[in-house]
Symmetry: C2
Subunit: 426 residues, 2 copies
């Protein structure tokens, strides 16, 4: 029941053991059928259900230690595992079990003039390393998505959640064993030594990709030091551009929703761009709506002429990811200036245009180089659930491999398959 | 007509200028329509045709300098631009012009319960840096694929081909100008200083991906030092496994073709695995066929018992990419041992099974973790042209992003698009 490997003094040797075991497990996972993977997910859900008291107790010890060491209220909130969060973990497992299995899907199988048939088959990446911070429910989310996509994974959670993560890991292991899968298909790193991360990101022989989930400094450190490919999720400096051709009621609804639906998420609008001809009419209506929500505005000169009470934005405001009830507002002259602004200051995450113009909607979709580009919709829709991926492991701001919300498909790759009948090349 | 930027003493400043110009050009290329891109490709072809004498003269100077500096015959052959190679460059441009444009393709546009429609749009990567060695025709191949896929590119050829590359670059530039495209859409680095490569692979703000084409040492150096994602193409240690269920005539044809069709290519078979029950019958027939082609065999103990003249293979032979008329041969006990051998010694490039068994063909396809996996076909088919990509920029041995032959699609990425009608998130 307990994990075979335990960390000793030599963290490097321990991590290499985990890596080796994961690599071996990945060759089993690769050929595990959908039914068996789903059985493991549902068994994990049952074991979490049965372990509720244990989970809450383990989490209480983490919370106590956190409080004693002075963690702030926001961090303590993210660390907490209460009954409703355990419900959510269990529902998450059931939901991932119900998603279609991407592995084995064959695309574009076509006959070639030589007589061979060529197509692409979707296959697991292999071993995925995930590094995350305080939220212990990530342990279940990450494990379930990696398992369903046929990968083995090595999970490194935050030290503040170590007892909660160990209790969750025990349920995951029981589920794997019950379904007849290798325990090493999901391994939770059992040391809080920071050195472990350094090893995890430097073992290309055992780990195929690293996904860091957490603050900017974690992601930047991992990206800088990794010797393994990284799927990363950096800032969301998202824009809504309201063109002169917009329906102003839609513009108002979208601009308010994109800012105020939630402040701390990466798909929240941080800068609003208004086309000059509609600024006069729209700005006062927007200002009133934002005032109601307690959103502070920082404006360009032209904004401040129309709204004298607004603070003048500095250069830094245009590139800021506030994650707070603050919004930068700029009046621009048409779509070209808007796209230039987005190109210069944006983070290529999610940007939207509000317009009734067919031509401008097509231009914006084609020319804005962001992971999600929207017409007449709130940036808050940029999310794996809203997009129908079922669940997401993060939102990639990379261009290669996976871009935007990363679901099961982003945890797979496609290899070519060739079917012949004794064919040789002439 | 001539390029605006020229390298001075400060290679770093020069490369940053190229990068900045490329980034700017990429925003134009991204929105350039198919007709205009094709017009540029065909204009380049016409300018190459008109410049034949100039190209041959420039190449003669490269060849002369190469001979004087003692380049070996193989390198001099790759460096040579004769009339038939110029024909091939011109045909290549015409062929890329005739390929479908991947940019703008929208996949899977579906309505979501919230009312938005979500899909994925194929878009250029942005700026691609390509580093290659002696063959000057790569300049045209790389430029044409990057252009057709809507990217700007920075090309760094080998110093031994510098005059040839400059002459080709002049034709490319004329073609761009004629089609009204920015000259900086294709830039050939005009210095042979090795420092230039170091800068090219360290400018993530200007370059989105690096593709090294050349020997293993070049690719390893670039991968190790790059601060930009690299699409790489490493060794091809390819296998053919002949199962006991094989049709032995097909097995013989495939095993001979996979080894002898060409020796120096990455998709050439380097190790042949024979299932024990058919080794007795097949080995003597194979040995005779290989002897005819002058292929030297290195065998496992069981092979050497059946063919006493064969040299015993060392451990190094199992991992060797010979690129020569040499073949390692091993007798194994069934598909499991074959897959284990491929997993342990292979390079995840291209591996084939010969079998008449439905079940074993499905297992091999699912379980062998290589960029191309084949049933009853020669490994030599692993090639962009044979797969119908029209052309290839290389064969990726990476798992992320592009795997296997990389054509136009591999030079693009997909972003999410969201179409709404004033939709906000509840």
């Amino acid at each position: 029941m307990s994990h075979a490997l335990s960390p000793g003094d030599d963290i490097g040797a321990y991590m290499a053991q985990l890596g080796q075991a994961a690599r071996q497990a990945s060759t089993v996972m690769r050929r595990t059928n959908t039914g068996c993977k789903n059985a493991a997910l549902l068994a994990m859900a049952r074991h979490l259900e049965a372990a509720r008291p244990t989970l809450v107790e383990a989490n209480a010890r983490d919370l106590e230690r956190g409080r004693a060491s002075g963690l702030d209220a926001a961090l303590l909130d993210r660390l907490e595992l209460n009954e409703s969060r355990i419900d959510a973990m269990i529902e998450g497992l059931e939901q991932v079990a119900s998603l279609p299995d991407p592995v084995g899907e064959i695309d574009g199988l076509r006959s070639r003039p030589s007589g061979i048939q060529v197509g692409q088959m979707r296959v697991p990446l292999g071993v995925i390393g995930i590094i995350y911070e305080s939220r212990p429910n990530v342990t279940v989310e990450a494990a379930s998505l990696c398992l369903k996509s046929g990968n083995a994974c090595i999970l490194r959670g935050g030290s503040e959640a170590r007892e909660s993560n160990a209790a969750i890991a025990a349920c995951i292991t029981r589920g794997l064993i019950e379904a007849g899968l290798p325990e090493a298909a999901v391994q939770v790193v059992a040391t809080t030594d920071r050195e472990a991360v350094g090893h995890l990101i430097s073992m290309p022989e055992y780990v195929d990709v690293i996904i860091p989930r957490g603050g900017k400094s974690l992601i930047e450190r991992v990206s800088r030091e990794a010797k393994v490919p990284v799927i990363k999720h950096l800032d969301g400096v998202c824009h809504v551009y309201v063109d002169a051709s917009a329906d102003l009621d839609k513009a108002l609804a979208i601009a308010v929703n994109a800012k105020t639906h939630r402040y701390g998420t990466c798909n929240t609008m941080e800068t609003l761009l208004l086309d000059a001809p509609v600024a006069d009419e729209l700005l006062p209506r927007l200002a009133a709506a934002y005032a109601e929500h307690g959103v502070e505005l920082r404006g360009c000169e032209r904004t401040c002429q129309l709204l004298p009470d607004v603070t003048v934005a500095s250069e830094a405001d245009w590139a800021a990811e506030y994650l707070a009830p603050v919004l930068a507002v700029r009046v621009v002259d048409g779509i070209d200036e808007a796209i230039e602004h987005i190109e210069r200051y944006g983070s290529h995450h999610t940007d939207a245009i509000v317009t009734e113009s067919y031509t401008l909607s097509r231009r914006f979709l084609a020319e804005v180089d962001s992971s999600s580009v929207m017409v007449n919709a709130s940036t808050r829709f940029a999310d794996g659930f809203e997009y129908g991926l079922g669940a997401e492991i993060g939102i990639s701001t990379d261009k290669l491999h996976a871009r935007g919300p990363v679901g099961l498909e982003g945890l797979t790759t496609r290899k070519y398959i060739v079917l012949g009948d004794g064919h040789v090349r002439r």
